[in-house]
């Protein structure tokens, strides 16, 4: 690790150790000193120097997001004694308490248990006044820890009792662990049976997160409701705390989803985090699949090591880590304020520089400075997740355009374009199945055969979770999970688990998954995942594989497939016809292809890449399709109408209310035809359609045209 700060910060200046004694003014950062240091990296320095603690960042977090933080701690701590909500509940705790409270969903508890006790420390942040800046929360906390600080009497009280509480809680947790282990052993089988009803048992251990997650989801909804209810009873300030905390962890994905969905999302993450990576508790079953028995200690040697985000957050709360927190806060605040003006390359560079900068700072402050390499790596992971969760809106192209439709950096725009084209390509080849890639389905044992679809579906489900996560690492895990399921499938079907067998399945999964913004996701990972984890190891392999598979799909043609030219042509013709049909219908009923989230509300200039059609192609073919579909237009079949209603509902599009009034359009069209006999009928139709049948506007438009002629 290089200690040459590329930023030219003088360490002594940038780390005002005295400033931690601030009381309420903790938001004032040390960075004011920094502006005086050598400005080797103006950008970055700028960011660090300009700190405005008053910047409100938390509003970006919708209230729904604090559900996870609050609900479970209530459950696990037995309702928060002395008004003491442990706001910093971890993901571990979430599913932990879940297991406790919903007896039917034991998920990966072995792994979780390992970590629970270390998380019990969290309960000490309490009653922290609402703080706009997330990291300000940490400051507050640090101050509160000081008994001498009279400004936060509440916290002192908690502080006093903290040790006892912690002990007590660890006892409780021990008990819980025992219970859960029992539960785990009994219910593990149940999970297996439930999910893999037909002799797929061997698969299950390989992707416990999959099966268990689903069960959790089912089981969780009830308890979530329960806890949400409990939460309602809690005091407002606690909610505010939780909001901040969620903000810190930044796990705000799924903002638009309901509370319960959000909760499930967390659960996914929980169950995925450790078991997926190390498969620790599924060892016994692993061995059944001819996989060599693995020493648990060795598990941690994987390229994808276990990662405990909460540990990192806890470490940040230590008083000695105060300077670290200040750096992060000032960086985030500045980036969130100025980020939209940077090019994509600048964003990548700045974030990379900041990570390097922080890696050096880690060597200066406890608890990081005395860490071994493993814990330090965890801290680097934590830092990356923390900042990327927050800066996602500036770094993930689909979010960037949502956030700021007026300016999107060119390379992000390219990503979106690629996404769009890829989606189209995937639509075009959606007829492909295993046979076309020589995936030998006959080799599958009979019992598996029936479930082939399900397997693919599992893998697809995992792959499509990628858009639910913000941190690069979490996104990678989605990919790894999808790959893992493919390998499980190969193992169960007694095929070799090598690249010859894996790649075709991966391609098939990608085609069937139709993952939104896949290319943006992959590029995001490449750009914002720490290089130390990207260059080497298994992650790197699977990332390369998926990139290769994407490239294959992008350039797919008949030579790449085991298919008769005639069949291929027929499929493509069918696709083209379908496309035209779709375009025709969409153009008639809605001005935009159905898949396109309507841009009228947010002024999007570039279309989100999730849809299969580009607007230009709609325009190009519009003349043709109007001719073809004249009958549709004049007398639309009720079935079509229904279809589109349905599609609209399904897409939750903002323009839902803009459905065209066919009758109105028809009469307008007739009127226009009378008024402007010289204009071509298709043009008239276009005009009527585009103006949604508004006779006045249509006449204006036609007048202009007539004048032009």
């Amino acid at each position: 690790m290089s200690f040459n700060s590329p930023l030219g910060f003088s360490i002594s200046k940038s780390t005002p150790t005295t400033s931690t004694t601030n009381t309420n003014g903790t938001s004032t950062t040390p960075s004011s000193h920094e502006s005086t240091t050598t400005p080797k990296s103006p950008f970055f320095q700028n960011i660090l120097a300009k700190t405005s603690p008053s910047i409100e960042t938390s509003p970006k977090v919708l209230p729904t997001t604090f559900v996870d933080s609050t609900t479970t701690p209530v459950l696990i701590r037995g309702g928060g004694d002395d008004g003491n909500l442990s706001t910093t509940t971890t993901i571990n705790n979430i599913s932990h308490s879940h297991n406790n409270n919903t007896n039917n969903n034991t998920v990966n508890t072995n792994n979780i248990n390992n970590k629970v006790s270390s998380n019990s420390i969290n309960s000490s942040i309490n009653n922290i006044p609402n703080k706009s800046d997330l990291i300000g929360l940490f400051d507050k906390f640090d101050i509160g820890v000081k008994p001498a600080d009279s400004s936060e009497p509440d916290k002192q009280v908690h502080e006093d009792g903290e040790e006892n509480k912690e002990e007590k809680k660890e006892d409780e947790i021990d008990q819980e662990q025992e219970q859960e282990q029992e539960q785990d052993s009994t219910t593990n089988e149940k999970v297996t049976v439930e999910v893999n009803k037909t002799s797929l048992m061997t698969i299950q251990p390989y992707n416990p997160e999959l099966t268990s997650t689903e069960i959790v989801q089912e089981a969780s909804s009830s308890s979530v409701e329960e806890s949400v209810h409990e939460q309602d009873l809690n005091e407002k300030e606690q909610q505010d705390d939780n909001k901040d905390l969620t903000d810190i962890t930044g796990d705000v994905e799924g903002l638009e989803s309901s509370e319960i969905e959000e909760y499930e999302l967390k659960n996914d993450e929980t169950s995925k985090r450790r078991p997926t990576i190390s498969s620790i508790h599924s060892e016994s079953k692993i061995s059944r699949i001819a996989q060599p028995q693995v020493n648990p200690e060795e598990q941690y040697q994987q390229s994808h090591k276990p990662f405990y985000f909460q540990n990192f957050l806890n470490q940040l709360k230590k008083k000695s880590a105060d300077p670290i927190v200040r750096y992060i806060r000032s960086f985030l605040v500045s980036f969130l304020r100025q980020g939209h003006t940077f090019t994509a390359e600048q964003r990548i560079k700045i974030i990379q520089d900041f990570k390097n900068f922080m890696n050096e700072k880690f060597t200066l402050y406890e608890p990081f400075s005395s860490m071994d390499e493993i814990d330090l790596e965890n801290s680097r992971e934590g830092l990356e997740k923390l900042i990327m969760n927050r800066l996602y809106i500036h770094c993930f192209p689909p979010e960037v355009i949502k956030e700021n439709p007026n300016y999107i950096p060119p390379s992000f725009e390219d990503n979106l374009k690629d996404d769009k084209e890829f989606s189209k390509q995937v639509e075009k080849f959606s007829w492909i199945n295993g046979i076309h890639l020589d995936i030998n389905i006959n080799q599958l044992s009979e019992s598996i055969k029936d479930n082939e679809r399900d397997f693919l579906q599992y893998s697809i489900t995992e792959m499509n979770k990628i858009n639910g996560y913000r941190a690069p690492r979490d996104k990678i895990i989605c990919i790894l999970n999808a790959c893992k399921i493919i390998f499980s499938y190969l193992k169960v079907s007694k095929q070799e688990t090598n690249a010859d067998e894996f790649i075709p399945l991966l391609i098939l999964v990608l085609i069937k998954a139709k993952t939104n913004n896949l290319i943006s996701n992959i590029n995001y990972i490449e750009n914002f995942r720490g290089q130390e984890w990207l260059i080497h190891g298994e992650t790197s392999y699977y990332l390369s594989s998926i990139q290769g598979a994407i490239g294959f799909i992008q350039n797919l043609n008949v030579k790449d497939l085991t298919v008769e030219q005639d069949e291929y042509n027929a499929h493509l013709e069918a696709w083209e016809a379908e496309e035209k049909q779709k375009q025709a219908q969409q153009a008639l009923i809605s001005p935009q292809p159905v898949h396109i989230p309507q841009s009228s509300n947010n002024n999007n200039t570039t279309l989100p890449p999730s849809q299969g059609l580009s607007p230009s192609s709609v325009l190009i073919t519009s003349a043709e399709m109007f001719t073809k579909s004249i009958s549709n237009f004049l007398s639309p079949s009720p079935q079509q109408d229904e279809d589109h209603q349905h599609q609209h509902q399904h897409q939750h599009q903002p323009e839902e209310s803009e459905t065209h009034d066919i009758e109105l359009e028809k009469s307008t069209f007739n009127n226009l035809q009378e008024i402007f006999p010289t204009l071509d009928i298709p043009i008239l139709k276009d005009i009527v359609y585009m103006n949604k049948g508004d006779i006045d506007i249509c006449i204006d438009t036609c007048l202009k045209l007539v004048n032009d002629i």
Binding site: E373, D500, E532, A549, F552
Partner: protein, 221 residues
């Protein structure tokens, strides 16, 4: 925590036509030790194995590629940044040798300049019983000379091996490990990766039984 043998990572990519035994070769290589030295991976497409050569410890990260012709375009994704490559063909299949020739050329043109390449004629076990007189019925379709000539032309390592019997398998990896430039290896070591499970050497006895090893005795992998 102590790090007695800081291993250096070497990315090794496997190329060759489908069904020539690429992955079998690697599976033979990585399964030749005590199981507790194994790092679990998602699938056999990516495997790791440590190998002690003299004083240096190399941790191979072995990248399997799909050998089907239609996936040839994916290969650059895999061999970029690779420090080593094994190009495998089947000594009983001339077409696979032609393919191997293409791979070697492509690697020299497009992979990193100092990549260490080994050409491997696999399935030696099938031709062991061939008699020199009976050319017609022999299984062997690619002669040792052909392979050796290609390797000499391209300046790469050459082995004939059998994943089935284990013949020469370890030697391939020892050969590559010995040939990889020291500096390259050192510079490629990721910080703190995979360095804490190197307690003690791997016992060779577990695989000695079926191993026709020809002189590569120093490899503890």
């Amino acid at each position: 925590m102590s790090f007695p043998n800081p291993a250096t990572s070497v990315k090794l990519v496997l190329l060759g036509e489908a069904a020539v035994g690429k992955s079998s070769l690697v599976l033979r290589f990585v399964s030749n030790d005590f199981q507790e030295n194994k790092e679990p991976t998602i699938g056999a497409a990516f495997l790791t194995q440590k190998c002690t050569i003299g004083s240096k410890v190399i941790k191979y990260e072995i990248w399997d590629t799909a050998g089907q012709e239609r996936f040839a375009s994916l290969a650059p994704m895999y061999y970029r940044n690779a420090q080593a490559a094994i190009v495998v063909y089947d000594v009983t299949k001339p077409a696979s040798f032609i393919r191997a020739r293409h791979w070697v050329k492509e690697l020299h043109e497009q992979a990193s300049k100092d990549i260490t390449i080994a050409l491997v004629g696999n399935k030696y076990d099938l031709v062991e019983q061939d008699s020199p007189e009976d050319e017609e019925n022999n299984m062997r379709k690619v002669s040792v000379e052909e392979g050796q000539n290609l390797a000499d032309e391209e300046g790469i390592l050459f082995f004939e091996s059998s994943a089935k019997s284990g013949y020469n398998v370890n030697d391939i990896f020892i050969g590559i490990g010995s040939k990889i430039p020291e500096s390259k290896v050192a510079s490629s070591a990721p910080g703190g990766q995979g360095s804490s499970n190197t307690e003690g050497r791997i016992d060779l006895t577990s695989n000695a039984a079926n191993n026709n090893r020809s002189g590569g005795g120093e490899c503890a992998c």
